[in-house]
Symmetry: C3
């Protein structure tokens, strides 16, 4: 169970609230946005002072809580409450602390922590999205059934390392690391678009969604090493032949590239976002704030969602000054700033409890 943080919120005012997060992933944008909105900021840093913030003064938090390891964050959570912190989660925060520990942190966090039980479990994630009417790549249970391109993904902390594309059972068996837990996912042919959304329960003057409004903050493509440049080697063999030569394709995220989508497809993108949010309200009482649908668009202009991230994604780091999409919104801001705005709005209207958990 997520802790009951409502009693804590009584102390939080627009003047004394601090925005806190772990110093990584998209934290510069989160701190920058919070500062612009007038909040105090606190950076949680593991293992020492994160000196690189000296190079980015407008993204540098006012204070740091330096811990020796992730567990110490749990131990010192009281300090965060004393500072009236609202913790903004991001992918690294949840992954390195552990979803379970994050879920139980006794401090207000931005968004709905119940989503973690659905997002962190591949089967429940699939239930959520497919029940929402969102198309996903198939999962293939038996490697002998591989009859088209598939992506073999490992679980755990490997983060894309060693993932490979198998187009036949043979290629699967030649290359799989049997010591790891794996899933075999249909590899949809197309180009990848990662859409950044923001669901605001506090505003209803826009694209109607679950009683609030859904916003589209931007779009990027993840740049993965080494798969996104391995083609420069030329055509020198299939996956098995490459591995024999010591060349190991991998899918480790190194950064992000900006993109805009063909405008005619935006209605589908907003509709998918709304479906994910509204089903989320049904299943676990709400998907709140930033989230991302990670999609492939085929040459039939069909979208397949291969993953959902239920919080700010690093692709938003492309747009600290707003994106080609926020240019058309009421305020042309980064996702970090948008989070701060929503918190501010919650504080000012006495509805903070609707956007934190």
């Amino acid at each position: 169970m997520v802790p009951d943080i409502e009693p804590l919120l009584e102390e939080y005012t627009p003047e004394n609230t601090t925005i806190a997060t772990l110093c990584s992933h998209s934290s510069m944008q989160i701190f920058h946005g919070a500062r612009e909105a007038g909040f105090d900021t606190l950076g949680i840093s593991v293992g020492g002072y994160p000196e690189h913030f000296d190079a980015f003064p407008k993204a540098k938090p006012d204070d740091f809580m330096i811990v020796k390891d992730y567990d110490e964050i749990v131990d010192r959570v009281g300090e965060l409450v004393d500072e009236n912190c609202i913790v903004v989660p991001h992918g690294s925060f949840v992954e390195y602390l552990g979803a379970d520990k994050f879920k139980h942190l006794e401090v207000p966090t931005f968004g709905n922590r119940n989503v973690l039980e659905w997002e962190g479990d591949r089967d429940r994630e699939r239930d959520w999205l497919t029940q929402a009417g969102i198309r996903m790549p198939d999962t293939i249970d038996d490697p002998d059934d591989i009859d088209r391109p598939t992506l073999v993904k490992y679980g755990g902390a490997k983060g894309g390392r060693g993932f490979f594309i198998a187009t036949s059972p043979q290629e699967f068996y030649d290359n799989v690391d049997e010591d790891e837990e794996y899933v075999i996912q249909e590899y949809i042919l197309g180009t990848r678009y990662y859409f950044h959304y923001f669901q605001s329960p506090l505003r209803s003057d826009g694209y109607d969604c679950a009683g609030g409004r859904l916003e589209m903050m931007g779009c990027d493509r993840r740049d993965e090493t080494n798969i996104d440049e391995i083609h420069r080697l030329g055509s020198i063999g299939n996956i098995t032949e490459l591995k024999k030569k010591g060349i190991d394709p991998s899918f480790v995220v190194a950064g992000n590239l900006p993109l805009v989508l063909r405008e005619s497809q935006l209605p589908k993108v907003l509709d998918m976002g709304r479906r994910a949010v509204e089903k989320g309200y049904e299943l676990f009482d709400g998907l709140i704030g930033p989230f991302c649908l990670e999609t492939v668009i085929t040459d039939d202009l069909d979208f397949y969602v291969f993953e959902i991230s239920a919080r700010i994604v690093a692709g938003t780091n492309l747009f600290p000054k707003g994106s080609p999409y926020t240019a058309f919104m009421d305020e042309d801001v980064s996702t970090g700033r948008r989070i701060a705005q929503e918190i501010e709005h919650g504080l000012e209207t006495g509805r903070l409890d609707e956007v934190v958990s």
Copy 2:
């Protein structure tokens, strides 16, 4: 013949003019730019209210004309005139309404509609550009003559679907869909750059072109599904082998990526633009407003133009707040805004007739 819209223009003033376009392609940018310039805006929507505009309030037109199909636009063109509309064409508008119907719409449109007869016919397009001294890829008439990489393109509404690269007659015959009309175009090896220009007949204080000035608004690369990510599969066969495995390369535009060009090549790019415009004045009395040269740049730094778009292209959607090139111009604006400026300038100086047809 393009209709005579000059009598209609007498009613148009800076105060009562409305900018209209079809809700798609680059319409958000067109509406946004028109609103910023102070114009009323009208969105033509086929099949219902385009709800996604609710997510982009600054790009949402003041009014909508909702039609059940494209023909209804023709029937209701009088309403557009009543609202003193200037219709801004874009690729989807012209394609879905039909170039011929667009040409005969009895309402002022931005730019010169005569260009459609030259742009819409591959042979005349080639005459126009090659007579202007612009290098184009060769066309290969007989598939048996394929002796280097070629792109096999289908006509009609397939929009890139099923296009394929053939490097030999065998590959052509193995993969061509004989039921479709096709052209075989030399596939120039290089990287693609799509240059966004704006020809202003109303201003002469800049890069001199046909008595007006030529501007460079930006540059992008189209992102095509699935060809632009199919390399992630690894080297698993030539086109024939891929098709046998059920893997169909395709060239369907899904979006756009921003780029800047090596600065030393800009003189060539502006020169190509000028050649296209000046030859256009010779052949059909003017290329006006936004247009795009779709190029490949080889490793000899030679440019080949494989297509011209004689109106705003979707790649400009990357730059609603201006591009790395407009940053250096007198006003750092989007192409949508630039169109509105030119209309405004025409209205204010009594020269509107020079930029609409």
Copy 3:
């Protein structure tokens, strides 16, 4: 020996100083930044008036010095001194004039010209960077030792043309042009990130480096023709087979794409920059102003630097209005503007001699 320009500096004041550079590469950004900072600007143009500047009025220098060839720049250097010019070098300037002539130009130049002796010599460049603790790809002396992917690079003015990837001695011998001088460099598998830094000796309120501060201005990826799109041909052979078909992979820079890096890797990037600068101070008394580390990031998230550019790089042309990184700095400006700021700061504090040579 670099000429002694200190006596010349006595005449330079904030009011009378002119920023000059060769009209190419990143000159629009340099002129634009200088104008914004209030400096006069002078463009050196070889072979005639660079008409394309008419399209970019805010980047157009106040005056031009038009020369018939590069040698004339040397002859007319006195005119540059008469105008109190500070010459800003960029890659084309140094390459086309010749590093040796650039080094001896009797006019103040931005940055430390002593770096040219280290940057222009592959062995010294390697000494510099490896002594700084920066990882570089191996060099392979004997083609028979090729046992993994390598990039075969030619020297001289070919600029990427004909470079090729060889994965075996056979592929090397089949494809090498023995008439050219070549180096065989280990080809690190990963994705390329080009980091734009700025070392300010005049400011110490930031990321501490060599007594000054190190800034990170942005990040791009070079777009190289034709290697970056050759994959669209499909898998039709290794390098030897491609060349037999008349298809020649090449690595000629055509432009640049914007990127952001995974935030967790920024500490490494800043650390690498600092190492390069601090070792530069040790070896040749300073690396000052803009520079670039050209890196590959592997799937272990290790960085390999394959080149250093000790001046402004063309990738910064993506960011005339600032980058996703400068958004977090005290001033959100282009590298061109940042150069002008540093000169201005030097002039105002009497420390100009610390940033020019």
